[in-house]
């Protein structure tokens, strides 16, 4: 299994936003400000225990949703917007874990959720923060690896 979380997340983000929403997503040296608002969350059960959170500003959400649905933001039902964002989170997590495991071993995730605050990492958790530039807007991803299993992942 790859231990390069940053490289695999960069690749997963670029592929997810490129293939699903036709948006360019590249790593950014800028840091997302605190107070991220809505959080896209998914739990990871295998190959490690933990979770992934994604923070998208409104501008990126609009671009994403409008590109996928080919409609203007205001014409799209909030239920559809949430559903689309959750599906993007699901695809990102799948791509990241497939990259990490080189697609050769099982990985297992929960169902994606929308939360309104970041989750506490827990004791002994390893936290990785990644920042991205998506069409000149800043987005963030937080990878949290919990418990003693992160030692085995090289993280």
């Amino acid at each position: 299994m790859s231990s390069n979380f940053s490289q695999e997340m960069d690749k997963a983000m670029a592929e997810t936003f490129g293939e699903v929403c036709f948006l360019d997503c590249i790593p950014s040296s800028q840091n997302l400000q605190e107070g991220v608002g809505q959080v896209l969350f998914i739990r990871v059960f295998e190959p490690f225990s933990g979770f992934i959170e994604m923070y998208l500003p409104l501008e990126i959400k609009k671009l994403t949703i409008e590109n996928i649905h080919q409609e203007t933001w205001t014409d799209i039902l909030p239920r559809k917007i949430d559903d689309t964002l959750l599906e993007i989170m699901n695809i990102l997590a799948g791509k990241f874990l497939a990259n990490l495991t080189e697609n050769s071993s099982n990985y297992r995730i929960g169902l994606p959720q929308i939360l309104f605050e970041q989750q506490a990492p827990g004791v002994d958790a390893k936290v990785h923060l990644f920042h991205y530039d998506i069409e000149d807007h800043l987005a963030g991803v937080r990878l949290v690896i919990q418990g003693d299993r992160h030692a085995r992942t090289g993280g």
């Binding site: 959750l86 791509k95 497939a98 995730i109």
Partner: protein, 123 residues
């Protein structure tokens, strides 16, 4: 042709239908289900020619769905394609034992789907 699309995401079902249409199946009759349980209900009433299902779903996931279909040959569609963000090589091998013809990684694109359809001679 009757096609059942199974995914808890409405967006994903919409994208799948668009991809199938781009692949030349626009005249098909499309059915959809939000999870494996709903899919079994549809299949018990309507035989379909092609089942396209996700794996990671609430209530009944895609794995359980294809296992249940394997146990009930009467409702088994001739072709099953799985598209998922959880499609590792071991998962793919296991799914093929349950009669899945092709496993496609999300996000689904017309190109990926076209290859899967060509492999089962549905185009």
């Amino acid at each position: 042709m009757k096609i059942l699309i199974v995914d808890d995401s409405e967006t994903s079902r919409m994208i799948t239908k668009k991809c199938l249409s781009i692949c030349g199946l626009e005249d098909s009759e499309f059915f959809d289900a939000q999870d494996g349980l709903e899919a079994l209900q549809v299949l018990s009433q309507t035989p379909v020619d092609l089942l396209v299902t996700d794996l990671n779903m609430p209530r009944m996931d895609g794995f359980t769905l294809v296992k249940k279909i394997k146990l009930s040959p009467k409702m088994a569609p001739p072709h099953i394609i799985v598209f998922s963000s959880l499609a590792s090589e071991p998962v793919e091998a296991e799914l093929k034992n349950y009669g899945v013809a092709s496993v496609v990684h999300k996000p689904l694109t017309p190109e990926k789907l076209s290859l899967a359809l060509e492999a089962i001679h549905v185009k």
